[in-house]
């Protein structure tokens, strides 16, 4: 029962952040949009990568749910129900495939069916690797969706594919770098240092 609650929380948390980041992307980062579907700096890609690192394959359900909330309620798109389902499956499958491939390739991941990541030993290059894999699979599957979708009906264009790939990599990896910088700066704010000092005093 506890495990079910834990997984539900993970899915809801991922869905919330994915919907939130899609909202931020469409409301405040519209300058980076190349067209309606492709962006050169796509920050929700960061949530896809980091939720998969934190929650494994269950993150796929959260991402699909977050996407559903966004395209149905927050920014309704003129998709048919079959297209919405296909789109949700597309993001979920791309995330699961990228995690699976990364688990196969990386030496810092054990078990493929339920990947256990060695957080103590991963470095920025491992993060870049998963960002790249995720970007490749997402761009590929998204293009299959756009080509199939009767509403979008996009003709395959290598240039669009490259732009989308670039947008996913920059969105996820740059956000990772920015989050690291902000965290390092926050750690140096006296309030944090005081907290450590208090703990030390209490221990004494």
């Amino acid at each position: 029962m506890r495990k079910i609650i834990e997984i539900t929380n993970e899915i809801l948390l991922t869905a919330f952040f994915y919907a939130l980041f899609r909202f931020i992307q469409s409301e405040y980062l519209s300058n980076s949009q190349y067209n309606d579907f492709i962006s050169i700096f796509y920050i929700p890609a960061a949530i896809r990568v980091f939720s998969s690192l934190l929650f494994g394959y269950w993150a796929a359900a959260g991402i699909a749910l977050g996407l559903f909330v966004d395209i149905v309620y927050m920014h309704p798109e003129q998709f048919m129900m079959s297209e919405i389902i296909f789109r949700m499956l597309q993001v979920a499958i791309s995330l699961m495939l990228s995690l699976l491939i990364w688990a196969k390739l990386s030496t810092k991941v054990t078990f493929i069916s339920n990947p256990v990541i060695d957080f103590e030993h991963i470095n920025a290059f491992d993060i870049l690797q998963i960002c790249l894999i995720e970007a490749i699979f997402n761009s590929l599957t998204a293009h299959i969706f756009y080509i199939w979708s009767p509403t979008v009906h996009l003709d395959f264009d290598l240039y669009y594919f490259a732009v989308m790939l670039f947008g996913d990599v920059t969105g996820s990896f740059l956000l990772f770098v920015v989050a690291n910088v902000i965290f390092s700066v926050l750690k140096r704010i006296p309030a944090f240092a005081r907290k450590d000092h208090d703990n030390t005093t209490n221990n004494q």
């Binding site: 690192l53 690291n180 140096r188």
Partner: protein, 111 residues
């Protein structure tokens, strides 16, 4: 080993700093001072050039930090022929003595 969500997030957010030795402007003074202190503890002395060779940051930035530390009394210069060596200055020595006394008091209390 299974680690919690908070630990995973902490690992990811401090990854650049811990794994890639990402130095920040406010930490460079401390790093230079630590290098001088460690050298002095092991009976060595660093020259300005040797501090630059540690590649803590760019050459000009290292010289600026050394100059700041000298101004605040944390570093002093001693000359050996034509080479200028850096040693701990009166402020740093004072702070170390103060820390030493505090540690002595604490250890006496424990006993």
């Amino acid at each position: 080993m299974k680690i919690g969500l908070a630990s995973k997030i902490y690992c990811l957010l401090s990854l650049l700093e811990t794994k890639h030795n990402l130095s920040w402007a406010d930490g460079l003074h401390r790093q230079i001072l630590m290098a001088v202190l460690n050298a002095q503890c092991s009976g060595m002395k660093y020259s300005n050039q040797e501090i630059v060779d540690l590649n803590l940051t760019s050459r000009s930035s290292t010289y600026r930090k050394i100059s700041d530390l000298k101004q605040l009394g944390f570093l002093s210069e001693i000359w050996d022929d034509t080479t200028c060596y850096l040693i701990l200055g009166p402020s740093a020595v004072g702070m170390l003595a103060e820390a030493d006394n505090t540690l002595k008091v604490m250890s006496e209390k424990d006993n």
